[in-house]
Symmetry: C2
Subunit: 187 residues, 2 copies
């Protein structure tokens, strides 16, 4: 089997260069990625995971990762907390939307609570702990957006907490307001 | 050149099946896509575009489309309005975050205003018009999320407008709070 080999050029029906396979012409569209994560509270303390993987191995982060296909952001945030911290979450609401264009990421960060006191390090974590807010290791946080999310969560905790709109209750974009189903390729 | 041919199987270091090229082993990760769009107001009226492309050709929609690599969502929303409606936008704020898991979309919808009264149909639009709210063709809107966004925009117009947090002013995730740059692969 040959090694993957792609050339960057602009397809006829497009306006930007894309990665095109040299052997079969497959167009590998690179799209921005969606990260979903949660600031998780339990009895006034905040759950953080010490990363077992690069980048930033050994640094502390909130449970977060890439949204999968056909997954709601809330389901993705719950899955990541389960995988990284063996934690079962009760999602409260969307806290923040961040963008990191340098690495083509959009991050959706939720506020959440532990459904039970159980948690433990999953395969991508060296350690998982609950921190009193004053004890959070600020110099050992993994990413800028972890700082932002913790800061915004503290603001939200004071009650000055703005929230965005999201899907109407019970709606997942599969039907028009008149009840008619939408076709598969439509949003 | 051969035709692209992919088989769905789970890579060794992964937990879900992915599309893998039969000839070179390239793993084509399918990720959820980010749609960015705007509810655009001008002197109390709302800008809508009549779609010139499928799906839902001939139906009305807000200017919206896929976020590109290394683009902020706000820049993407401005670009889409420029492409579809030749409109220059002043983005006011994030209005809503929707998810359509059936088609693996997350949509970030902004409130915006026209910077000038100029607009015209771009190549993906048959027509672009400003509608008085009472005149919006509700039976001819393209997608459920267009209904949601217009409804939420009306709620926002009444002043009961919740907003989410987003990046701190001037920050794009390129440096830690202590000013140190983050490495390229980090968020």
């Amino acid at each position: 089997m040959a090694e993957p080999s792609f050339t960057l050029r602009t397809p006829d029906d497009d306006s930007l260069p894309r990665k095109i396979c040299d052997s079969c012409g497959f167009v590998a569209y690179d799209n921005p990625k969606i990260v979903v994560g949660s600031v998780v509270r339990h009895e006034g303390r905040i759950l953080l995971c010490r990363r077992a993987i690069e980048p930033r191995r050994g640094f502390w982060t909130i449970p977060a990762g890439y949204l999968e296909l056909n997954e709601t952001p809330e389901d993705g945030a719950r899955r990541e907390a389960k995988e990284e911290a063996e934690a079962e979450l009760e999602i409260e609401r969307l806290l923040a939307v961040y963008s990191v264009p340098r690495i083509s990421q959009v991050q959706l960060i939720y506020r959440a609570r532990l459904r039970s006191p159980h948690f433990a390090a999953g395969p991508e974590s060296l350690d998982v702990r609950l921190f009193d807010p004053a004890e959070i290791p600020l110099e050992e946080l993994a990413f800028p957006s972890v700082h932002w999310a913790l800061g915004h969560d503290f603001e939200a905790e004071t009650g000055a907490a703005p929230v965005p709109f999201s899907n109407p209750p019970g709606e997942s974009g599969n039907r028009m307001p008149n009840g008619r189903p939408v076709a598969h390729e439509e949003s």
